[in-house]
Symmetry: C2
Subunit: 310 residues, 2 copies
């Protein structure tokens, strides 16, 4: 099948392309290198089943030309801002890169009759649901980050397009994804700080902020496994049952760097920054019942990622 | 207080301006006349408490200049596409006029420190919840029209901006609004068809599609009554308990036009058009408990509106 991966030069998108090519699909990758990198897809140049367009997804006219030229059957939409701290300072990043990319892709699909979509959503749509293990049919969604707000908006407009155009859509809401080709986040920050000054480690918040970290290969495995869905929206929380606290991440980084005894200095407070959801637990019953589980725990995913970052 | 009414030359916005001025507020109205009309605000010219900008709300730079010049304390956001049938043919209308207007207004509010917002949302965010009387904390929201999808997206990004910037936001989800200055919809269609040919009336669907119609003055009354809210999001369904079927509207129109015996010709099918939610019931317990009820039933609102349209 000929498919499009939007945001295919990004962290998750580039791994998904590897999996799609390995399965025999022809892949059209569209990316503007806002967050994606040339390095992530360098190994694919010369592959006759891979085609790349350096293109901003929000340009409807140019995107329509690509859709008309390529006649893809499936769109994997992984294009978005993924740096929540950056957009906290400038929400327009989410307007353009997270919401508008979705709307323009949907409009191209509508005009060109493309019926199959995968959408990478996020745990951030739930917002701060204190003490609740959120399931897919959760109560009112109240995102607190611009990123979560723009992703929830994307889910909303996907619902409309799916209904109006008889599309088959798989939506995954997933938490922090880590692994090879990762470009930012707390693991990077800790390694960078310790390389600059190995005498101590500054930690945002009180260190108890805990999140599930899923290994990117586990996520790609789930996409490949569930991508063929019925008409309408099929929605799953995808994650790991375990969580890793920020202090635990610091310990793993220090251990792997051979710095077991250095002091941690906490800036204090519940969250790392405003818009950060300090504690988050997923209800994964639905995808577990469908026969899928992550192969790595959150701590294992962190440890493996730290090894690659060093 | 100095306030901004975005979409103030529109049907609901212009009535809200009348109420705000009557209460002693200074009103800055911004509208691009996409759906709003000069006639709706003609009676306000020369009023020293009223100022008008003909301006597209999606132009961030120009909107910022207006915010900086006017220093408003409250934004009433009623700018949106309101013609769901039009955007069913061209969803980009919702991208620009419903979603993007919201994002740009929020960004102006953030940059200029404006903390109070009213947002006109819609029953369409619920989508088709068969047999369920939907309350504010309803299960998964699944809009089926592009309009509903863009409004749900607006609610999502409002949630983020409210949290990140300590805003106080009142969100009303309301159904069909009718009354003076209405410009389109089923009542207009019936009157127009009967004036052109009074021998019969063509009705989309099977005529059983039933919706609550709220009189615009009732809605404005509720906005004025609840506009001062606490920090965060305060969300109400606002409507009437009764509903009016399409056949009942046809009967009321024919009665008022003195055409009691003409045959109705149904096109058949459940909904009037794709994206139309054929039967919809609101749970209004929350706003009733807060001490507000509509003064007119749905049928009364229809009858009064028909008289004005004729």
């Amino acid at each position: 099948m000929k498919v499009m991966v939007a945001g295919g030069a990004g962290f998750i998108g580039s791994h998904l392309i590897d999996a799609l090519l390995a399965q025999g699909d022809d892949v059209v990758c569209v990316d503007n290198f806002f967050i994606g990198t040339r390095e992530n897809i360098a190994h694919l140049h010369g592959n006759p089943h891979f085609k790349f367009y350096e293109q901003d997804l929000t340009d409807l006219d140019r995107m329509l030309k690509i859709f008309q030229a390529e006649q893809v059957e499936y769109v994997f939409h992984l294009a978005a801002n993924s740096d929540i701290q950056a957009s906290a300072q400038n929400p327009m990043i989410e307007y353009k890169n997270t919401y508008s990319t979705t709307f323009i892709l949907l409009e191209c699909m509508r005009l060109c009759g493309v019926k199959k979509l995968f959408f990478a959503s996020t745990s951030a749509v739930y917002g701060e649901q204190m003490g609740v293990e959120v399931s897919e049919d959760a109560v009112a969604l109240k995102p607190i980050s611009y990123y979560g707000g723009a992703k929830l908006g994307s889910e909303g407009i996907i619902s409309s397009f799916a209904y109006m155009n008889d599309m088959s859509v798989l939506v995954f809401r997933f938490p922090n994804v880590i692994g090879p080709r990762l470009t930012h986040g707390v693991i990077f920050d800790f390694v960078k700080r310790l390389k600059a000054d190995p005498t101590h480690l500054r930690i945002l918040g009180d260190g108890t902020q805990s999140k599930p970290y899923i290994y990117v290969m586990d996520l790609v495995d789930a996409i490949m496994r569930f991508k063929d869905v019925e008409k309408g929206i099929t929605l799953y929380n995808v994650g790991v049952e375990t969580q890793t606290s920020v202090t635990r991440i610091a310990e793993i980084v220090c251990e792997k760097m051979g710095l077991p005894e250095i002091p941690f200095e906490y800036t204090g407070g519940r969250g790392g920054w405003k818009g950060d959801v300090p504690v988050f637990a997923y209800n994964l019953d639905k995808i577990h019942a469908a026969g899928w589980r992550a192969s790595m725990t959150s701590d294992e995913a962190v440890a493996k990622t730290v090894e690659m970052v060093l």
